[in-house]
């Protein structure tokens, strides 16, 4: 068919690679990453962790402050289980949405439990003789991330 403006669809042609070859390529990549993890050929690891209803990008020796209470005493070791992403220099492990517990281990220690600085909440309507002032001090918890470890159990 001659090439006119309507002979082929107006969207660009999209071709996916062959599934069998893709599966082989994927298996190869997974094997290589497993070997790298088992051999320990990664530098510093970073992880994205879902904790206290927020997502944090953490490495080891990191300090984190949450704006609420934690039912753990100072000096307790804590394991963070909801890990979304772990990465090193050469590879990243992306969780869909979470990574397995046998794959990553993130440990943290509770360092201090304090109150925040006195935050001032004020409301004021002009010409109406209305002003309210409230001072809020939220409890805060400071954690130190000790280690992030990964284990070679990819499949």
């Amino acid at each position: 068919v001659a090439k006119t403006s309507l002979s082929s669809p107006p969207w660009p042609e999209v071709k996916l690679p062959d599934p069998a070859e893709e599966a082989k390529h994927h298996a190869e990549v997974v094997r290589k990453v497993n070997e790298m993890i088992a051999a320990g050929q990664y530098g510093r690891l970073f992880a994205v962790v879902h904790f206290a209803s927020k997502q944090w990008k953490i490495t080891s020796e990191d300090l984190i402050m949450m704006d609420n209470v934690l039912e753990a005493e100072c000096g307790d070791r804590i394991r963070m289980e909801k890990v979304l992403l772990v990465g090193a220099d050469d590879f990243t492990l992306i969780g869909r949405p979470l990574l397995g517990k046998e794959l990553v281990r993130v440990e943290a220690t509770v360092i201090e439990k304090t109150e925040s600085w006195p935050k001032i909440n004020m409301r004021f309507w002009r010409r109406h003789n209305y002003q309210r002032k409230r001072i809020t001090m939220n409890p805060q918890v400071v954690l130190r991330i000790n280690t992030i470890e990964i284990f070679p159990c990819l499949s």
Binding site: V14, K57, L84, L85, T92, I94, P97
Partner: protein, 149 residues
């Protein structure tokens, strides 16, 4: 004997006026002009400052989210993807990173962001091909022109 005029000499007088005034002036010390020294002007400025900080705490969340979206848009355009495509494809691939994380990864972990962009692009292509279908017409429908005699 009861001294009746002694209680009249003991008035209740304000003794800690200095500290009450300092309570307000301490929040105004870094202001510009006479409102960092004079109580009457400082009271007004400090009140406005408190109200503004209260309202700003609510708007900071909106402002930061817009900033993250701008940054993710810029980073994904560097990899040839638009922001809505990127976010929707990431959601469809069950990656639940929020915009704050994506912006931080785009700044500090460029390789990771590139792999996320590749993941989103591949998911977009798969979705597009699934929507196109086989190229055949659905069963039971014919599209040639029917002549009535």
């Amino acid at each position: 004997m009861v001294f009746l005029s002694a209680p009249r000499w003991l008035r209740s007088r304000l003794t800690d006026r200095f500290w009450r005034v300092q309570e307000v002036l301490k929040y105004a010390r870094h202001f510009r002009g006479r409102k960092n020294r004079c109580y009457k002007l400082a009271v007004r400025s400090v009140r406005r400052a408190f109200v503004k900080s209260t309202k700003a705490r609510r708007e900071k969340k909106r402002f930061l989210r817009a900033l993250w979206i701008t940054r993710i848009e810029a980073a994904s355009l560097e990899h040839g993807l638009r922001y809505p495509t990127f976010i929707s494809n990431l959601h469809k691939s069950q990656v639940e990173l929020n915009r704050k994380m994506l912006a931080d990864l785009a700044i500090y972990e460029p390789k990771t962001f590139k792999s996320l962009a590749a993941l989103a692009q591949r998911r977009g292509q798969e979705g597009f091909l699934a929507a196109l279908g086989d190229g055949k017409e659905p069963a039971g429908i014919f599209s040639r022109i029917v002549h009535h005699h």
